[in-house]
Subunit: 256 residues, 2 copies
Amino acid sequence: MRESLAIRFSAGGETAVQRRYEILAQELRGLILSGELKVGDPLPAERDLVEITGLGRGSVREAIRILEIEGLLSPKKPGRKGVSVVQNASDQTVQRQLELFIGGDSVSNDHLLQARMVIEPALARIACDMRTDDDIEAMRAINARIEAIGNADRGALVQLNLDWHSQMFAASHNDLLVAIAIGLTETQHRAGVMGQYGSQEHVRLMVEAHGKILESIIARDGERAYRRTYLHLRGYADTLAKKNPREFDLTPLNPR
Amino acid sequence: MRESLAIRFSAGGETAVQRRYEILAQELRGLILSGELKVGDPLPAERDLVEITGLGRGSVREAIRILEIEGLLSPKKPGRKGVSVVQNASDQTVQRQLELFIGGDSVSNDHLLQARMVIEPALARIACDMRTDDDIEAMRAINARIEAIGNADRGALVQLNLDWHSQMFAASHNDLLVAIAIGLTETQHRAGVMGQYGSQEHVRLMVEAHGKILESIIARDGERAYRRTYLHLRGYADTLAKKNPREFDLTPLNPR
DNA sequence: CTCGATTAATTGGTATGACCAATGAAACGG
DNA sequence: CCGTTTCATTGGTCATACCAATTAATCGAG
């Protein structure tokens, strides 16, 4: 009944069929990115979209699902007002994708470390200019809790360490870099590559390192904060290096 | 007939229902990330998964679609051997998500510039250590083509400029940082924020800047490559700043 | 027997129709 | 006027059916 809508496009030498739900997803994405659909605008109900597009409900649902995973549409809720709503892709979608990418075996641990050594010291430096007093207080509070629990609870220690770093990143007030940095840091910590640290001595050193970084940020001494953060990371990297040999030299990232 | 499988979990104070396709997606994702399903392993056919899981075909398809968007499953093809295959999430999924995040209005152009100024000079420095002769040759070739076409074709100029930067990033041989850097650079260039550059003089300056960066990388002079790349970016930023006032100072990223 | 052409089986893509559960609005009753 | 009940809306899910593409199996000619 319906003439062939088969649209073909060349992609990498191959010829792929453009599936209907893909087309619809593209169109909706275009409407959102071009601003014709603004953040907060509700999408028509699934059954309305079926009428509008002439597609089946399954195809409509798959198209919506795609944009939902990309972060451009809110998850739906059943009920009378449960339609999808246009939203901005969140920092969390960036983190998720970074974690999935790094989690695969395309990225070596050394490359991940190298990336962290590029970004995290720079964030510390930026934080020196942009921090507020609240940022300082938050960082201080987390470090105090780390000192308090010591190595009693391994899981809590990992989480608090993550929290401290996230809070330091947040003090830069650059949401883009923060999202990237958290994605990198979380992946490495969750990977359990750092199951070794947890002795009382390790915790003491960690608290001390955090303290020195915090001091520098309070003093708004960018160079010092950069250096302290770099050394903190390198200490961590060196601990790892005792177990596995390095693939390549990480050190060119050292400032000055 | 089927007892309620409704699983609830608290998320941010709210209580959300876990939908069936979400559960299946989670399970499959878990199998992949834990390594029980390895890269290259084919998934059972949709109808087989229907039998295995007891779900409807629509739910199975939505679950698969989610993992496909996340990059963990290959797109399917019709035909007898068209089943999904497990794969690593690619750098492209990272780029896509960065572009979607930045494309929304959560990230200001100044924050994007700041992020680039953190990452790109660092990549130039790393490239000094890791580059091969092929990298050098590729960069030289692209720059030559830029010089050749001049400002004749605006679109081609933008693309070639992107290519040059991508090639420079690639010379670092850190796929993670490369994916991030390309995501940032592409977004800014595609956003058309740089429609202004295109005069013959601009092109000449661009070629010159690229040339100086390349020289430094050839000489393996990391500090110099870092500095040149930083200045190249700052020149671009200053051009933009003439049109729109800065939100904040970008300069703390200057090395030394 | 070998190889090319034809046929059949497999698999994803899509549509239709139906029913449930949750939600919120409207109608109702005190 | 307010609380309760009813009901329409909407997403979630399943079952079934058919098409199109692709590959495997079969068959036939030489």
